[in-house]
């Protein structure tokens, strides 16, 4: 038994209503009892195929010709989740080989990347086939067309988490670095890095990463900030690492302060500080995220630091990040209220 490939061009195909091999199926109209409000004006091909789909669902038929029918519908409407669901059940019921189905799904995936259903179908097939390694290459290829596609990235994360074998994880950091070299502002790649490094549940069994790993990740984030400081993804990652490892923001205060000045210093520093890379010459300073970071450091100092935090928040509210004025003013009120309670 094989999955019959479709021609892909539905105008060549005869309507199911005109095909003698489908004469035993009674098509079912979508709305038999009423004239619906807000109808959709279907093409004749779509109406025909879905009338026959309702017909075979009524009889519960699960056969090879049902694979052809569901494929026809999916090609016209990749979001038809019932067709996907029924197709999957049919594959199982007729014990169809799933490898050809995966190959067929590859073509669907390329064509209709933004639908949930096609990626979910892949997940069902992968769960059964248990051959995840080639899937990573497929996902990377799919990302070329749409480098932040949400379903593609969450599918990759699912694949890694579900199979959880070292060989799968091994290539992830280089993969992420490739993507960030292409675009350091790709937040999907940054999120994936956090997932790979900190959400993997590593060999120690506690999920607690070594100090070396934390130091490495902090250095990574800082290096990327030094390329293009006004990059929310990199600062969110830096903060995320510090939060996760319970490392005080104050440890990075010297680094961040370099980014709070009004312009990049003209003179080259005498010593290149690898721990705290300085802003590049093209940087647009002060960097709002750096100001915020330093304000957070001051707030954490307690009563003595709050006035300095307030000064920065005031500057953010009035000058540097005016769209968020209400938030910075809330931070001021909140910090003062907490300091007076302490």
């Amino acid at each position: 038994m094989s999955v019959t490939p479709s021609t892909g061009d539905n105008t060549e195909r005869a309507l199911y209503a005109d095909r003698p091999e489908w004469a035993d199926v009674a098509p079912v109209a979508q709305y038999e009892n009423i004239q619906p409000l807000a109808p959709i004006f279907y093409t004749p091909e779509y109406k025909d195929a879905t009338d026959y789909f309702r017909g075979i669902m009524k009889t519960g038929e699960k056969s090879e010709r049902v694979l052809e029918l569901t494929e026809t519908i999916i090609r016209m409407n990749p979001a038809h989740y019932s067709a996907w669901q029924y197709r999957y059940e049919t594959l199982l019921a007729i014990s169809a080989p799933l490898e050809p189905e995966l190959v067929l799904t590859n073509a669907f995936t390329k064509a209709s990347i933004k639908t949930y259903q096609v990626w979910h179908h892949r997940r069902l097939l992968q769960t059964a086939l248990r051959d995840p390694a080639p899937e990573l290459a497929f996902i990377e290829d799919a990302l070329r067309a749409d480098v932040k596609n949400y379903h593609t990235w969450s599918h990759r994360q699912w694949l890694l988490a579900h199979f959880d074998v070292p060989e799968l994880w091994a290539g992830e950091l280089p993969f992420i670095e490739r993507l960030l070299a292409y675009d350091v502002r790709n937040n999907s790649a940054w999120h994936h890095r956090f997932f790979v490094v900190f959400e993997r549940g590593n060999a120690s069994g506690t999920g607690q990463e070594t100090e070396d790993v934390v130091r490495r990740e902090l250095a990574f984030a800082k290096d990327k900030i030094a390329l293009a400081p006004n990059n929310a993804s990199a600062w969110n990652y830096l903060r995320g690492v510090l939060d996760h490892a319970h490392v005080p923001y104050a440890t990075q205060a010297a680094f961040a302060k370099q980014y709070t000045v009004d312009s990049v210093p003209d003179a080259e520093p005498d010593v290149l500080d690898l721990e705290d890379p300085p802003p590049p010459h093209g940087a647009q300073l002060p960097c709002v995220a750096a100001l915020e970071f330093v304000a957070d450091v001051h707030e954490a100092e307690g009563k003595d630091g709050v006035p300095r935090a307030v000064e920065i928040w005031r500057a953010l509210a009035d000058t540097h990040d005016t769209i968020r004025k209400k938030y910075w003013e809330y931070r001021i009120r909140d910090a003062i209220a907490n300091a007076s309670e302490a």
């Binding site: 009892n33 009423i34 969450s154 292409y182 769209i323």
Partner: protein, 476 residues
């Protein structure tokens, strides 16, 4: 020139797209007075009516499995624009929705389609708008028993739910389930066991929420540290936050209860508002572009934070000296915005985004220019406008009014009912950009329905009398 996103002399694809978008959006800024900010209500109503009565063109075949959504987006947009449906079309709407109910429970994306959590939400919310008790009214023809059994069949050990048979887990489905379960009074401890913990596990390091989380690698599948599937995202964040607020009355006390990092969530939500060069619209993810639909998903999330104690104080009404000399006005001056507005996002800017960028000149609303309008963006832009104009908050006095009228056991169910109905519009602090003709109806922040429709369906299924809300007298 409005502040634009800095590139640091290091352009990448993200910054190029961002710069192109800012160019397009800045071109929408009209020169001149605030009166140019006009909500073209009639054009949008015509756009909606065309779809509803004439139907959707062939390219909408991609929405064939989302017919309940097309209905809900259209009906709720009408409601927010303060337009009712005539009785004939109301009945047609009810009859259409009921065709989507699956014989085994729940509603599908169309007649005969498999039941799906999202389709069920959109169907039941549509019925909240057009339905009524009695024969032919829709409400009493919902099979609640089968619906409950179907819900339980989708439940997984980690507290999550798949959205349909063989379907995916995601927090949108959980939100949709919780809303319907509350409306139809079918919430039970076994239904929601572990769900709050699952929601909490979807919060990412950025503070927003992902689509789902993966069961932990180790034996304890309900352990807090779970890998997040997907980055923090506006749609999933709204669904997670609304679900969390709905589940709070049932959370156990004590240190082992699941928790959400509210400060981090607040920071992420605030960071999603675009700069002045993006007209203050909202984006859905870090380093992505603003989009009108996030006006609701992210802009609408701020109201919900109040249920979590942020900000701590309710907004103050207009200061006494102002009310003595000037009549109360919906259309404030610059100073008025600053004095009274305690919200945590820039309401004025969001309204401007919607009015200047969200509206399509031929009717309907959209992601951003030069995109075409569609029903989805039409609703969520209008809902976002509502969230930016009105101050919805959980009112302790309203909660007491509702509780006082409750008949029956004083349990978690009663508490949840009162919590839901405590959400009211704070009087006198609405802010409407442009003329007061731009004002739209207030929206219940948990459901994206009006308070009236929310009360109607709840009163019926809980068999309770909900006291009429008496607006408080002037507090001057």
């Amino acid at each position: 020139m409005p502040r634009s996103t800095p590139v640091d002399a290091y352009p990448t694809r993200t910054s190029e797209l961002q710069a192109d978008t800012e160019d397009i959006l800045e071109a929408q800024l009209p020169l001149g007075a605030e009166e140019k900010r006009v909500l073209h209500r009639d054009l949008h109503l015509q756009f909606l009516v065309r779809n509803l009565i004439q139907g959707f063109p062939a390219r909408y075949v991609s929405q064939d499995a989302s017919q309940p959504w097309l209905m809900f987006w259209t009906l709720q947009a009408f409601s927010t624009l303060q337009v009712g449906i005539d009785p004939v079309n109301k009945q047609k709407a009810i009859d259409t929705v009921m065709e989507w109910q699956h014989p085994d429970g729940g509603f599908g994306g169309g007649p005969g389609q498999a039941a799906h959590l999202l389709a069920t939400y959109a169907s039941v919310c549509s019925l909240a708008i057009v339905g009524r008790p009695g024969p032919g009214g829709g409400w009493d023809q919902i099979d609640r028993d089968k619906l409950y059994k179907w819900y339980m069949s989708l439940k997984r050990p980690d507290g999550s739910f798949i959205v349909s048979n063989h379907g995916e887990v995601d927090v949108r489905g959980i939100y949709c389930l919780l809303v319907v379960a509350h409306f139809l009074d079918i919430v039970t401890p076994e239904l929601i066991e572990g769900t709050a913990a699952f929601i909490a596990s979807c919060q990412t390091y950025e503070g927003g929420f992902s689509s789902a989380s993966h069961p932990h690698f180790y034996d304890d599948i309900l352990s807090a540290q779970r890998p997040s599937l997907g980055e923090a995202h506006g749609g999933y964040t709204f669904c997670s936050l609304a679900s969390w607020v709905l589940l709070r009355p049932y959370l156990p006390a004590g240190n082992n209860a699941p928790r959400v990092d509210v400060r981090r969530l607040l920071r992420w939500l605030v960071q999603m508002q675009g700069l002045e060069s993006e007209l203050g619209g909202f984006k859905g993810r870090t380093n992505k572009l603003v989009d009108g639909c996030y006006s609701w998903w992210v802009g609408g999330s701020f109201a919900l934070l109040q249920a979590l104690g942020v900000p701590a104080t309710a907004p103050a009404p207009a200061a006494p000296h102002a009310s003595e000399t000037t009549p109360p006005s919906d259309t404030p001056s610059e100073d008025d915005w600053d004095d009274v507005d305690d919200s945590l996002f820039n309401r004025r800017a969001l309204q401007e985004y919607i009015l200047l960028a969200g509206q399509h000149p031929a009717g309907g609303l959209r992601d951003k220019p030069p995109k075409n309008p569609d029903s989805y963006h039409t609703l969520y832009c209008i809902a976002g406008l509502s969230a930016a104009q009105h101050y919805m908050h959980p009112s302790p006095s309203r909660r007491e009014e509702v509780r006082a009228a409750w008949t029956g056991a004083d349990d978690a169910r009663a508490a949840a009912f009162a919590d839901i109905l405590s959400w009211t519009e704070e009087e006198g602090v609405s802010k409407v950009v442009g003329s007061s003709a731009n004002r739209v109806n207030a929206t219940h922040p948990l459901f994206n329905l009006t308070v009236t429709h929310t009360e109607g369906i709840l009163a019926h299924f809980y068999k309770q009398t909900i006291p009429k809300h008496v607006p408080r007298a002037s507090r001057h």
